[in-house]
């Protein structure tokens, strides 16, 4: 369980150093997106309005307050990633290096992360109070008609801890832990 501090954008070497079970803290920028954002990007094929090369994309729909034409954070956390599993490939093809969320991704996404040299970073689900304080500012918002499922750009400092749930070597800690847990309870007779 090594600990890393990463500054975005991420490059291949930074990602390849990480192993499932490691802990990561992030400085720099994180992009927020969710179901509706990804549907617009990839099902509707609307061009992505910003460069996501080396980006960390976080599954989130923040609570915000509008002040003039700007948005100020109220509560920013994360959501269950498996709902957005099928968008893993398209995101990686845009150059995204890390997908962050909670609950992990499935087998096919694990293989895609290995192929494109990306990782999945698990936040501690439900810890929005801490995460909100680690987000310094909402720097940009695109597609506000999808509120709260817009494309967000957050500037972060000491953002974490994020746990490497899936590394670029095909290890998926979520699926491994669950399979082992099911085996154990079956062995107990359940």
């Amino acid at each position: 369980m090594a600990e890393y501090r990463l500054t975005t954008p991420l490059d291949e070497a930074q990602v390849m150093a990480l192993r499932a079970g490691d802990v990561v803290w992030v400085d720099g920028h994180i992009f927020g997106l969710r179901d509706a954002t990804l549907i617009r990007m990839f099902d509707q094929g609307v061009p992505v309005p910003t460069d996501l090369t080396g980006a960390i994309c976080l599954h989130t729909a923040p609570g915000v307050r509008q002040v003039g034409d700007r948005f100020v954070k109220v509560s920013i956390g994360t959501t269950t990633s498996t709902r957005m599993n099928r968008f893993t490939g398209p995101l990686l093809q845009l150059g995204v290096r890390a997908i962050a969320g909670k609950g992990g991704l499935l087998e096919d996404a694990t293989r895609l992360l290995q192929q494109y040299r990306g990782v999945y970073l698990g936040l501690v689900g439900g810890t929005a109070a801490a995460e909100t304080t680690q987000i310094e500012e909402i720097e940009a918002v695109w597609w506000t008609d999808l509120m709260p499922e817009c494309l967000w750009k957050f500037r972060v400092k000491d953002f974490g801890p994020l746990i490497v749930g899936i590394d670029a070597y095909g290890n998926n800690l979520y699926l491994q832990t669950k399979a082992e847990a099911l085996r154990r309870v079956q062995a107990l007779g359940y």
Binding site: P62, K102, G126, T127, A128
Partner: protein
């Protein structure tokens, strides 16, 4: 109160419900805090400890800075008990609860997570057709009204299960279903969780019992010794799985298992599972016969 609540009383309750909703989202009940602390102190997995420490730090930050514990402000679910002698008109009370929920959403402001199941349209109020969900009970002889709010997060609500088992599957079948449902949910419901189990009744009652079970204080024990034994056994089995915090391995997958039961039909063996995440938010408003209000958990 012979003639019933004055109209101002409903306005006061609307305001109190708005306050209650936000308070519940910021201030985790002491029983849940204690269970999380106990889980952290016995956790031996490094990743598990990191997660439980982060949860505790998160709760402390929410306390200090008056922030929401989790960004998912949930589906508003209320359990309301109206005392026979309270003088409360439930139709007006229902309106007050709805308006209080909307007021909290607008004034805090809170993210609205409630949409139409067909158009997916969000009114930005955290309410909609038949939502808030309100479960009513009427209590003979009581002068009080009690409003319990559960802002129910979706990561855990999505991990809800129901099955009509056969009588021949017995309690063994029930246990297997519960354990497999919880462990099979992996990290999605944000473990460590409170597991609510409904046993018996009709299909609708069974699911409601599971929801009542998660609404109990964390770690409370069913007064029926047979049911209490089942709670204990299920808790041990689920934790022996090693699924752990966030499904990444460790000693505590569940903080508690609560079972609520009801009589059922001779040819049925219904079981329901409703999971509550570690952010097991709960707020209680008690209104006395003179209109005096107390807020608790």
């Amino acid at each position: 109160m012979e003639r019933g609540w004055p109209l101002e009383q409903y306005e006061a309750v609307t305001e109190a419900v708005a306050h209650l909703y936000v308070k519940a989202l910021k201030d985790l009940p002491p029983d849940v805090r204690a269970a999380l602390e106990a889980a952290r102190s016995r956790e031996s997995s490094g990743v598990g400890r990191t997660i439980l420490q982060t949860i505790e730090r998160n709760i402390a930050i929410a306390d200090e800075q008056s922030l929401l514990i989790c960004q998912d402000t949930g589906t508003p679910v209320y359990f309301v008990e109206v005392g026979e002698e309270s003088g409360c008109n439930p139709i007006r009370l229902e309106r007050a609860i709805r308006e209080g929920t909307e007021r909290a959403t607008r004034e805090h402001p809170l993210r609205s997570s409630v949409v139409s199941p067909i158009s997916r349209q969000n009114r930005q109020t955290n309410t909609g057709y038949r939502v808030p969900v309100i479960h009513w009970e009427f209590v003979a002889g009581s002068p009080n009204v009690e409003i319990l709010v559960i802002p129910k997060g979706s990561g855990s609500e999505n991990m809800s299960y129901f099955r009509m088992l056969l009588p021949a599957d017995g309690v063994a079948g029930v246990k297997r279903f519960v354990v497999e449902s919880v462990v099979g949910s992996g990290g999605n419901p944000c473990p460590p969780v409170i597991v609510g189990v409904g046993l018996g009744g009709s299909a609708d009652l069974c699911m409601l019992l599971a929801k009542k079970a998660i609404a109990r204080p964390c770690g409370s024990i069913n007064p029926d010794p047979e049911v209490a034994g089942l709670e204990q056994e299920l808790l041990e089995a689920i934790n022996q799985s090693g699924l752990g915090p966030m499904g990444l391995g460790g000693a505590t997958t569940a903080l508690a298992v609560h079972v609520e039961h009801a009589a059922t039909h001779i040819s049925q063996n219904p079981v329901a599972v409703n999971i509550q995440c570690w952010a097991a938010r709960r707020g209680r408003l008690t209104i006395g016969p003179e209109g005096e209000m107390a807020i608790g958990y």
